[in-house]
Subunit: 139 residues, 4 copies
């Protein structure tokens, strides 16, 4: 499990956008990854809540990394597409995105991403993502 | 047209995330808005290209604002949901997102968002978004 | 509960396509509707499994009716959009679609539709749908 | 071109659902397929218009076959997922679905499906589909 966390963390730390979004890698399990983001004004939309793009970005990374936990070590992952529904205004101090593998195939993995508020109880947005397993670049 | 630009710009300037993403409001027409983002490392994914979240964020704002150009002056807009397909790696110095109204209804407006590379020719991602017209908050 | 079933059944029976798809209304609860379809050759794709369109049609109806169980009696519902992922080939004798309300709002309701095989265990397809509450036509 | 039509037609004719939906294969070009469906009561929703499932089914087949026109002869295609927005009520005597390839890759092809009314002018629904190229079964 420790190795699993390190594998994901090593890629996470190379994503400049995650640092920009105040995001931290909270949890890495087989088929599940949690990423959260702390609010500040640089992440806002016009009403000073989290911009939908922040929810989407951390949910996308959480889904992609959940898929990566299931991929062979010589593989990387790529988001093919996703759809996200926004259900409540994101007026919370911290967003919690949980990406979970719904089905892992050889080429494609389907993940679900749920974005919660600070309490981890209120569902703010829901994503379904299609992730592709590809050769690790440079290999 | 000038007033239209000012209406959108006034909201755009309040979106902290747009500044964070190096985004500029390039074009505002009736039913069409263009937003672009200049690359730097703070916007990257693990291979040092633009993170999918950046494409998505500017495409979402471009779609929302395209819908806003068609909304009555006492109304605001809210993204209900969107779906986005990523078609090519975003290895470009500048992303250009064009949001366009496909159908404007009283309550819901459907927009299409195309994300291009620096040349404005290569289609990198394609979004379809459902936007809701709501009462301007505080009114 | 009986009244709830009758409300949904009365609309279901007017959907000519449901009869054409060998579909039956199995279950109606507050926020949840189950519809299943028995296979025959008139519902096939080129490999003689269920066509994706059959899965989609019964999942759409199940989601719409799940939303309708939550709507005031003088209202009807309309599908705004949905997205569906196909996860396994639909080589089963019967498809079971379960539509469930994820969030009910005044204007929009978000539903999830899961399509299972005959056993009710194997997840074949997964839908997320946005449903709009509208005035009952003719009223 | 004639061979292209025959390739698609041979698969289309094996789709039992297409016959059930009164569907005809109108046009086959490189990267584009048109399928239309004539209304009768067996295809209706509760207000006696076309059921959303009919629009979706012919748009899905049109997108899949558009992708197939670009696939090598020893390959078949499979719908991974799609999203569809319904923009106007389908109160027309004939639905026309046009599937078009937006981007063809080795493994995945992205298509757009537009569904029009009888006149071919009014856009009723809009689909984006992800199609996978697979080995022809039995080969």
């Amino acid at each position: 499990m420790d190795d699993l966390y390190k594998r994901i963390e090593s890629s996470f730390n190379r994503q400049g956008l995650m640092k920009t979004l105040n995001a931290s890698l909270d949890k890495v399990e087989n088929g599940l990854v949690q990423i959260s983001s702390k609010f500040n004004e640089s992440l806002s939309q016009q009403h000073n809540y989290f911009h939908a793009g922040v929810m989407t970005s951390i949910a996308d990374s959480a889904c992609g990394y959940a898929a990566l936990t299931r991929a062979p070590l010589d593989k990387d992952v790529l988001t093919v597409e996703f759809k996200i529904n926004f259900m409540k205004p994101a007026n919370t101090r911290r967003l919690i995105a949980v990406g979970k593998v719904i089905q892992a195939g050889k080429t494609l993995t389907i993940c679900e991403g749920n974005v919660y508020d600070d309490t981890g109880e209120k569902l703010i947005a829901k994503m379904t993502a299609t992730i592709m397993t590809i050769a690790l670049s440079g290999k």
